[in-house]
Amino acid sequence: MAEASIETRGLTRLFKDNRAVDGLDLTIAEGELFGLIGPDGAGKTTTLRLLAGLLAISAGEARVAGHDLRKEAEAIKPHIGYMAQEFSLYAELTVAENLQFFSEIYAVDPTQILEKSERLLAFAGLNEFKQRRAEHLSGGMKKKLALACTLIHDPQILLLDEPTTGVDPVSRREFWEILTELNLGGTTIVVSTPYMDEADRCARVGLMYQGRMVFCDTPMAIREQLPGDVVELHTQDWRAARGVVASLPGVLQVQTYGESLHLIVDSAEQRLPQLVCALEDHNIPYRSLRAAPPRMEEAFISLIHQLQAHGES
């Protein structure tokens, strides 16, 4: 494994009495694509802001790009690119002017600004909107412009806070293609996301819960955290079906996805026939009932449920 780009030991941030980030131990290798997931308020944004030097550290240590965050927060800034969750560019400035401004404050070589801007605009698909004011861009284009501004100084490390929230699926996909390409070029990326399909594209994923990193591994390992198998049940009458199957022996969890129910069972092979019987007994019609490969989303919800149950007991 390559040298660590980001390394934290017991990283903690308090807001009054609330431990927003609580004893975070994290090592992210150079060139890694790392995903941060977790429910709202879990501490993802605070973590990213701490790593960007935007918040003072309450306790613990952190090194980013080889610099101690506590002592040399300014020294890391030329090496990182940070993209806040909310749109944070100058609305009255055009696309080109925003890029120009950020290239100047990042001290990009003046002879390279034009060429770099052109490349990034092409990369982000914003070439024809160069003269448009940022405030008049669509949500997806704003995000791409923000990313372009974040990339103007070729940062080694990218810290992205839910970069695709509120963006349509096509733009989302395009955005991730850009990220993948950057990552292949060697950029270390830490990205928080509420979308599990995005988490699935990361090399490693950290699940945060109440300020702590409760799980940190590959997406595959997270999927394997599911305590059993997944059974997909498609039915019109999912409310009634849920009532019936939830109480069956061997059914650990029931998650609802639109018109389908995803059941986590201890063993699909063993429980499928019992499920069929139960549904027929209660006269609940269904379109399909089959074992399915576990997905990130189910694993995520299952883990959160376990944590919540653990917290309550």
């Binding site: 918040l55 944070s88 009255e92 401004f101």
Partner: protein
């Protein structure tokens, strides 16, 4: 400090000012508006003050006296009344601001040169107009006495000059007519030119509210670079006012300008540096535009109004206030503005004030960059 960073911030800020209509109006139109409103509401040249006369003498002499008093534009005879009660009722209703009561033995006493038995009653609830009336009645009385005496002297063959060994002539320098506007407007100018300080205070809070400050904080830009870069565009725009506002004073209000205009521009730039630095401090500490606005009024504009000597002389303030006034750029600039407009003072006299302005600017900017953290929360 990097000139490249400062220049980038300046360019961005000017683009913002020019494209954001609210900011543009705030920095370019508001000072003119405020000067007009204040000049008209605060510096009314008094005229046509209504007074009443109670003539208990009823002779040609007393009638000539009343006529003499109300001959000018300053005092108008509202009514001739028959009793003190009538005067009181008119004063209470606000129909008159003052009254002249002439004693029954007026003509006799005056003609025998023994005195001037009369009384002036003023409305103490409105001392401005009251004192104005007393003042002007006094002037008229003087002239009346001189006329009467001249007649009497001639009658007995004594030359007039023999009776007036002391001749006091008061001349108000720099403002011969003692018109309040001439004195007030250069003072007001020093106040309204500081208005862009509010925009500067708001611009940092605006960036904070819109998340753009967060983006600047993760960049390597120096704190002083950012603050200086934010201030310079408002000094540039403020200089437009430094030309517009004196023009307005000279052409519209007929205020004389006796000093050097280039010097006025230079010292105004110093003043803008001083007062905009105050705005920057407020922007550093206040995290929302609403708070920045409120505090700007509290720390810049109210003290600018009351403590800088525009309305109340600083010499008559308590010590603490005088000390506070020293820290307000407006205090020093009011002296400069009045000096250049009215007395035509030069750098030989104004240099200490100029030094104070620049000094305050550096102190305030220093404090602002010291306390400005590239951190959230």
């Amino acid at each position: 400090m990097s000139w490249r960073n400062i220049r980038a911030v300046i360019r961005k800020e000017i683009q913002h000012i020019l494209r954001d209509r609210g900011t543009l109006i705030m920095v370019l139109i508001t000072p003119t508006m405020i000067l007009l409103i204040m000049a008209y509401s605060l510096t009314v040249d008094l005229e046509h003050i209504p007074i009443a006369a109670l003539d208990q003498n009823r002779t040609s002499v007393s009638r000539a006296f009343i006529q003499q008093i109300t001959a000018g534009e300053d005092l108008d005879l509202y009514a001739q009344v028959g009793s003190i009660d009538e005067i009181e009722s008119m004063l209470v209703k606000g129909e008159i601001k003052a009254a002249v009561v002439i004693a029954p033995d007026f003509s006799e006493t005056v003609l025998s040169l023994r005195g001037l038995p009369m009384q002036v009653i003023i409305d103490g609830t409105e001392p401005e107009s009251g004192y104005f009336a007393v003042d002007h009645i006094g002037q008229r009385v003087e002239r009346f006495i001189r006329d009467v005496m001249a007649d009497q002297m001639q009658a007995i063959g004594v030359p007039e000059e023999a009776l007036l060994p002391i001749d006091i002539r008061i001349r108000a320098w720099y403002n011969p007519g003692l018109k309040p506007r001439v004195d007030m407007i250069p003072g007001l100018i020093s106040m309204v030119l500081g208005f862009p300080a509010l925009s500067v205070a708001l611009t940092l809070a605006h960036e904070r509210e819109h998340g753009t400050l967060e983006q600047l904080m993760v960049s390597p830009i120096g704190r002083a670079d950012l603050l200086i870069g934010k201030m310079i565009p408002y000094i540039i725009v403020g200089m437009a006012n430094v030309i517009i506002i004196p023009m307005l004073a000279m052409l519209w209000f007929d205020i004389p300008f006796n000093g050097s205009f280039p010097l006025f521009m230079l010292l105004s730039a110093f003043f803008l540096f001083g007062i905009l630095s105050m705005g920057i401090i407020i922007g550093v500490f206040m995290h929302t535009q609403a708070a920045a606005m409120a505090v700007s009024f509290l720390l810049i504009f109210f003290p600018g109004f009351f403590l800088t000597g525009i309305f109340f002389p600083i010499a008559s303030m308590p010590e603490v206030m005088r000390m506070e006034a020293l820290f307000l750029p407006g205090t020093h600039y009011a002296v400069i503005s009045r000096g250049l407009f009215l007395t035509g003072a030069g750098m030989d006299i104004l240099w200490p004030y100029a030094v104070m302005l620049v000094g305050l600017g550096f102190v305030f900017t220093g404090v602002a960059s010291l306390f400005f953290r590239k951190r959230l929360g």
